[in-house]
């Protein structure tokens, strides 16, 4: 993935969300979260793979996004999850903000191996 892929990728996330009937506010939260995570993957992870899936659990439908890179990884995850923490001179809101915007958030990272972030936004979540 490259910088120019960000907008088309967001559009694809939107297509999935619209197709399952997700409301506008949840769509906007999901796409904003996706935008943050793609940006991190490009900026800190040296690029990677982003996937989009529609999932269901019981009667609830949702969209699951996975962002996987083979970059340097994150040394201190709890520090990275703090509002305002950044090593990139930006706002430090991407990870903590994303966690607030989605229904489920999983961050896995191994130093020297890479980082994988998985998020789920339920249609009514």
């Amino acid at each position: 993935m490259k910088e120019q892929d960000v907008v088309p990728y967001r559009n694809r996330v939107k297509e999935h969300a619209v197709k399952m009937g997700m409301g506008l506010v949840n769509q906007t939260k999901l796409i904003t979260a996706a935008s943050e995570l793609v940006r991190n993957m490009l900026k800190y992870g040296g690029g990677g793979i982003a996937t989009i899936e529609t999932i269901s659990q019981g009667r609830e439908n949702g969209v699951r996004l996975v962002f996987a890179d083979k970059g340097p990884g994150i040394k201190d995850i709890s520090l990275a999850m703090k509002d305002g923490f950044t090593t990139g001179r930006s706002l430090g809101l991407g990870l903590p903000g994303t966690k607030r915007l989605v229904s489920e958030f999983l961050l896995e990272s191994t130093e020297g191996k890479g980082t994988t972030v998985t998020i789920i936004k339920w249609k009514n979540g």
Partner: protein, 134 residues
């Protein structure tokens, strides 16, 4: 590379963002706007984001930078037409749009800017030259 047009309207600069910005375009907008504020000695910057469906922390930072730099150059920044879903998302993301005023539409944004500039003019006792009684 495409550019976002910046319109000069008397004392103000008006920008209408009609596409979802990718990074380079947003950064160019930031520097173009600052340069134009300097060049024309503008007192207000009006950014119409009614067509923008996503503002992430990157875009939010650009808007904040524009407001901060404009302020240093003695210009106020008003963002108009933010979609409600975008506003709700920004709050949850935790992004305070510091120094950015907001208004419902371009007309109200203009009025807001005028009132701010009018105040400045009164402060330094320069008579306003328009005959508007609003």
């Amino acid at each position: 590379m495409d550019k976002i047009p910046i319109l000069k309207m008397s004392d103000f600069l008006l920008v209408t963002i009609q596409v979802d910005l990718y990074d380079q375009l947003a950064e160019n907008l930031e520097s173009d706007l600052i340069n134009m504020v300097k060049k024309y000695n503008s007192h207000g910057v009006l950014i119409d984001i009614s067509a923008v469906s996503i503002i992430d922390s990157f875009m939010g930072r650009i808007l904040g930078n524009i407001a901060m730099m404009s302020k240093i150059l003695d210009a106020e920044t008003v963002v108009v037409g933010m979609q409600p879903a975008v506003a709700i998302t920004l709050i949850e993301l935790g992004l305070p749009l510091k120094g950015v005023h907001s208004a419902l539409n371009v007309e109200k944004g203009m009025a807001l800017l005028r009132s701010k500039i009018h105040n400045i003019e009164q402060d330094i006792s320069i008579p306003a030259d328009d005959s508007s009684t609003e």
